[in-house]
Symmetry: none
DNA sequence: CAATACCATAAGTATTTACTTATGGTAAAA
DNA sequence: TTTTACCATAAGTAAATACTTATGGTATTG
């Protein structure tokens, strides 16, 4: 029996329409082409598959049996096709990741690791502020977002994958720099250089202070963490930033982390996408990769 | 994707041996032939299926996925092949028989005998009235029909296989019950409980009476032979039914067959299918079986 | 290092495939 | 009765298929 898939496909079409002519139309063929395929199939099998009574054709018993199997086979072919198509997606494709500016300090490392595993995947990284992330999520302009506290307004799937401790920074020559276990009340009198309103860090700071019944005294407002750090270094006030942004500054001794009692503020990094979004295979792979890598990353960057 | 079964077969062989060369041997091919088939398959799919590490080849992820589906598909092809092979014989299959309600009394016995001979054949028996039989024939919903007088309108192949005598029945206490050689004129004055118009028995009765220039006096109309018999037993009139329906009633003495001169009306049972219908091997076997069994059946049920 | 075992690639080819157009037959519908 | 709707069959054809033989490259193995 050397049945071909072509024959089965034509057979299915004929069976489903109960008509050679309809099948021919569906398959963009002439009617004789269909007749021939069926005839060959019947020849291969050794049994008639259709019987003609007047104008109408009917499946024979054998035809009915074959139809069941044939449908099942083509369904399986479709399945495997889809599976393989998705795997192809992993081999090459594009991944769009957007990260909060604060997160930029470690996401580059994550992406580098992922890229090495999946050469052929083009990674597009966009670093923007919280508001930018939200519009990107809303407009489906990105596959995955990495950010601090995600908003509750949008329907989002958020997964925490790493701690995000916010610490108080000061220039080396600041009076508090050498003290230990600084009580929270001492910080109330200090001026803080802050991020713009709406920024994740700014929101966290304000909530933190108000929870303790304290008033946050704000100095200059900066739109980036880099600017904050430079301002603090220049003596314009204290700052509160994610510890992940401080690697270089701590190493080179430009800034110091105050040993304040109520700190660090413990927050988390989240990997985020909109509910209902169909993640591409690459995106899924990246999400899993991030969750798996988070632990080891954390230990490296936090020690 | 225009994967061929050939490609899948070669792929399976290679995968199961983890070797192109072995596969070539198994398939009685040269090694390059195998290489080409695999290469084409990979081309169709768009993914590598094997990877080569030194001398050995391994299935890739995609290859493993495909292998599962491929095995399943060829298993199904084997299954259907076997099924169809069996259908070519008589070992398996389905037989759809529809019978007139009157015929039901003896066809069950026929079918039982046939089933015993051909275990594995599923018999579907549908008992319906004359009109139902005709639509089933028209719509090719049945393989064979057993009925009394077949209609001439449709193109049918009809074969008489057994006599079908219609007799007059009466309750035991009926005045005519004890008489012999009752002349036809005596019956004209009697009221008859009859089947619905269009029923085979009703048609036969009416023709029979009109052929003799007599008027049929009808009482109640019943839609089944069982109802007729009960009505007759209850004294609502005489009845005319096939003798095949009377086995139990005669044995238990609830009814009697009148010894009327013009009776029994001799009709026949026919086995029927539409002209041009391709009878399955099973259906052919059943038809032959019926024709052969008819004689012995007749002697048993008619004595 | 040489031999060996494997797979890849190239070139060539007989056969098969999958159609097409043209035409004919038949049952049902008008 | 004529027309219509369907399927079967025949003849012809460009393209694809499924091989073959010959050869080359590359790890492992002895």
């Amino acid at each position: 029996m050397k049945v071909t898939l072509r024959q089965l496909k034509v057979f299915e079409s004929v069976a489903s329409h109960s008509s050679y002519t309809r099948a021919a139309e569906e398959l963009h063929l002439t009617q004789p082409a269909v007749s021939m395929q069926i005839k060959q199939l019947e020849g291969n099998i050794g049994l008639p598959l259709f019987e003609r009574l007047g104008k109408k054709i009917y499946l024979t018993e054998a035809g009915k049996e074959l139809y069941g199997y044939s449908s099942s086979i083509s369904r399986q072919l479709n399945e495997i096709e889809e599976i393989l198509e998705n795997m192809k997606g992993l081999a090459r494709g594009r991944l769009r990741v957007s990260v909060a500016s604060t997160a930029n300090y470690f996401t580059t490392r994550l992406l580098a690791g992922f890229s090495k595993l999946h050469t052929g995947v083009t990674v597009v990284l966009d670093v923007t502020n919280r508001a930018g992330l939200l519009t990107q999520l809303a407009n489906n302009e990105t596959d995955l977002v990495i950010m601090g506290q995600p908003p509750q307004e949008l329907d989002l799937v958020t997964t925490a994958f790493m701690e995000n401790p916010l610490v108080v920074i000061a220039p080396l020559n600041h009076p508090l720099a050498t003290e230990n276990q600084i009580p929270f009340v001492r910080l109330q009198d200090e001026t803080f250089v802050v991020r713009e309103p709406g920024s994740g860090t700014r929101i966290a700071m304000e909530r933190y202070f108000s929870e303790r019944g304290a008033r946050l005294t704000t100095g200059m407002e900066m739109t980036s963490n880099e600017a904050i750090k430079q301002a603090v270094e220049a003596g314009l006030g204290l700052g509160i930033v994610s510890i992940h942004t401080l690697e270089l500054e701590l190493e080179t001794g430009r800034l110091t982390v105050l040993d304040a009692r109520a700190f660090p503020i413990l927050r988390h990094w989240y990997i985020v996408h909109r509910q209902g979004k169909r993640l591409s295979p690459i995106a899924q792979a990246f999400k899993i990769f991030v969750l798996e890598e988070a632990t080891s990353m954390a230990s490296k960057t936090l020690n």
